[in-house]
């Protein structure tokens, strides 16, 4: 057995980083992001394997089904690169199939973490702040939205790839061991929830023009609602739609349904 010392260069890793952006370009219903993943791994495969047989085997490995939050994927690519490097240098050290089983094992938890951090928190904060400026027609809105989201998202990409490659499979034990991940998940959950609550109160102008006469005086229904609790109608509307989503009504049906219902309620004078 000849042990070699092949190593990915900084340039290879940088190339993997940029190629990682194209992850979803070949999205299909069978293997999802497989083409994009293989495309990103090409620099590593080219560097580590010199003959066609090994390169073909590696390409096939990375053309297997893959589906994960795009910004979380560079970390998995880093781990894959580290494992490929290990395998290329010493084929008896690891089973090549384990490279793919690690990928498969990481997809779901990484998507879960990525969704709640990126979509559940960063994007919610970015959209909430961005939209509150943009509603006034200020260009600051879209700019803040873009920057507030992409700053953390890009850092996750950069450091994910770096530490994924540096620590290999061990990086995961590192993260899970001390419960830091649980704490982060709790933090982002709380922030996301609070910001959504705030948006319901500030960005959902639902008011009723209904009036009725009581012993001669006209009473506005909205005034009564405001006395019970300010922004009561926006809250109830959101909770109602939330219940429907929990009942698995599709997004398309919901948006079209709310659109039609809004027109009808206005025509009969309730909203």
């Amino acid at each position: 057995m000849i042990l070699t010392d092949k190593k990915l260069t900084k340039k290879d890793l940088r190339s993997i980083f940029w190629r990682g952006f194209a992850l979803q370009g070949g999205f299909n219903y069978e293997k999802m992001q497989n083409i994009g993943y293989a495309y990103a791994m090409e620099p590593a495969i080219k560097r580590l394997y010199s003959n066609t047989k090994d390169r073909a085997a590696a390409l096939k490995r990375h053309l297997a089904l893959f589906n994960c939050t795009p910004a979380m994927t560079p970390m998995i690519m880093g781990i894959s690169s580290a494992m490929e490097e290990q395998y290329a240098n010493n084929p008896s050290a690891i089973d090549p199939d384990s490279i793919n089983s690690v990928k498969a094992a990481l997809m779901a938890p990484f998507s879960g973490i990525g969704d709640s951090i990126l979509f559940g928190t960063f994007r919610v904060i970015a959209a909430g702040i961005g939209a509150s400026f943009a509603k006034q027609g200020s260009i600051l809105g879209p700019i803040l939205f873009f920057v507030l989201y992409n700053l953390p998202a890009t850092l996750i990409r950069i450091f994910g790839l770096k530490y994924g490659y540096k620590w290999g499979v061990e990086s995961l034990d590192e993260v899970q061991k001390n419960g830091v991940m649980d704490q982060i998940m709790q933090i982002v959950g709380i922030i996301g929830m609070m910001v959504v609550g705030g948006m319901v109160a500030t960005m959902l102008p639902v008011v009723t023009p209904l009036k009725f006469s009581m012993t001669g005086a006209t009473v506005k229904l909205q005034t009564i609602f405001d006395q019970i609790m300010p922004k009561l109608l926006p809250l109830l509307t959101t909770l109602l739609v939330f219940c429907l989503i929990r009942k698995k009504v599709s997004v398309s049906k919901l948006t079209i349904g709310v659109l039609i219902l809004g027109i009808l309620l206005h025509v009969i004078g309730i909203l």
Binding site: A22, Q24, G26, F27, Y29, N34, I35, A38, Y39, E42, A56, L59, L63, N67, A108, S111, G112, F119, G120, V124, I125, A127, G128, I129, A131, S132, A134, G137, I139, P142, F145, F146, A153, G179, I187, G189, I190, M193, M194, V196, G197, M199, V200, A201, V206, K231, L235, T238, L244, I245, R246, S250, V251, T255, V258, L259, G262, I263, H266, V267
Partner: protein, 267 residues
């Protein structure tokens, strides 16, 4: 014609954001509508419409089995036609929401057609043909581009001249109703986010955020900063001493939590 091409290009490039440009979210309506406004000479209106569309679709992250609405095509066409007709945000939403639902079918079609390219990529892999695989990625990318470019271009070419005729035929009460419906629609976005973040233990924070804004009139920036501080305080200082207990709780909760199930289809 030039205008239609330009708007079509904006949609085409916008849809590539989540495909090959790294999901940096410049394809979201709040950003893309700025460019639509710029192309049509009313950037302010573009920004305002984009903000409202963003709120409606902010919960969309391709969760679950149903195809999510195509906010790129829907958003661009809705914003563009609303700016051309000078009829404002109600019209934008009325066009954007159904168009997004329809356009999603095109996206589905491309993802099915892509199966063929995926199989071809497997073939190229057998001979370690890197260029072949790159070519497959490029082809699918072009398909995605066209899936947004063609409908947007056609809608602009055919719709731009007739949109005023159509809108003027709609009675005023319905037009006002559209504005009301537009105000109501972000509730879908908020509810989708709640669904994504849902866990019984955290639901109280939704009400806390709501109450702080409703009674104390905090704005979103204020609530975001406050939430960050509070969350860190609670997690760092609140969990001390009762870790084993807390751990069991989170475990039993995981079954109801969308996020930890990994049931999310990323696209």
């Amino acid at each position: 014609m030039v205008q239609a091409l330009l708007i079509g290009l904006i949609a085409g490039i916008g849809i590539l954001d989540e495909r090959v440009l790294g999901a940096t979210l410049f394809g979201r309506p709040i950003v893309l509508s700025v460019f639509v406004g710029l192309a049509l000479g009313d950037i302010k209106q573009g920004i305002i419409i984009g903000a409202q569309l963003e709120l409606i679709w902010m919960g969309i992250a391709g969760i679950g089995v149903s195809t999510p609405p195509d906010y790129v095509t829907g958003g661009v066409i809705g914003t563009a036609l609303a700016i051309i007709s000078h009829k404002g945000i109600g019209i934008a939403l009325t066009i954007a929401v159904p168009v997004a639902v329809l356009a999603a079918n095109l996206g589905t079609l491309v993802r099915v057609v892509n199966l063929w390219f995926s199989h071809k990529a497997d073939k190229y892999a057998e001979t370690a043909n890197f260029r072949g695989i790159n070519l497959m990625l490029l082809s699918t990318t072009i398909l995605f581009f066209l899936s947004a470019f063609i409908p947007t271009f056609l809608a602009m070419l055919l719709g731009a001249s007739k949109i005023n005729l159509i809108i003027n035929a709609i009675p005023k009460v319905i037009l006002d109703g559209l504005t009301v419906a537009g105000n109501l629609l972000p509730s879908v976005g908020f509810a989708l986010l709640l669904d994504m973040l849902f866990s019984k233990k955290l639901f109280v924070f939704f009400f806390l955020g709501f109450l702080l804004c409703a009674y104390l009139k905090l704005d979103i920036t204020g609530i975001a900063v406050l939430a960050i501080c509070m969350a860190i305080i609670i997690v760092l200082f609140g969990n001390n001493g009762k870790k084993p207990n807390g751990k069991d709780e989170t475990k039993s909760e995981k079954t109801e939590d969308n996020l930890t199930e990994g049931a999310i289809d990323f696209d």
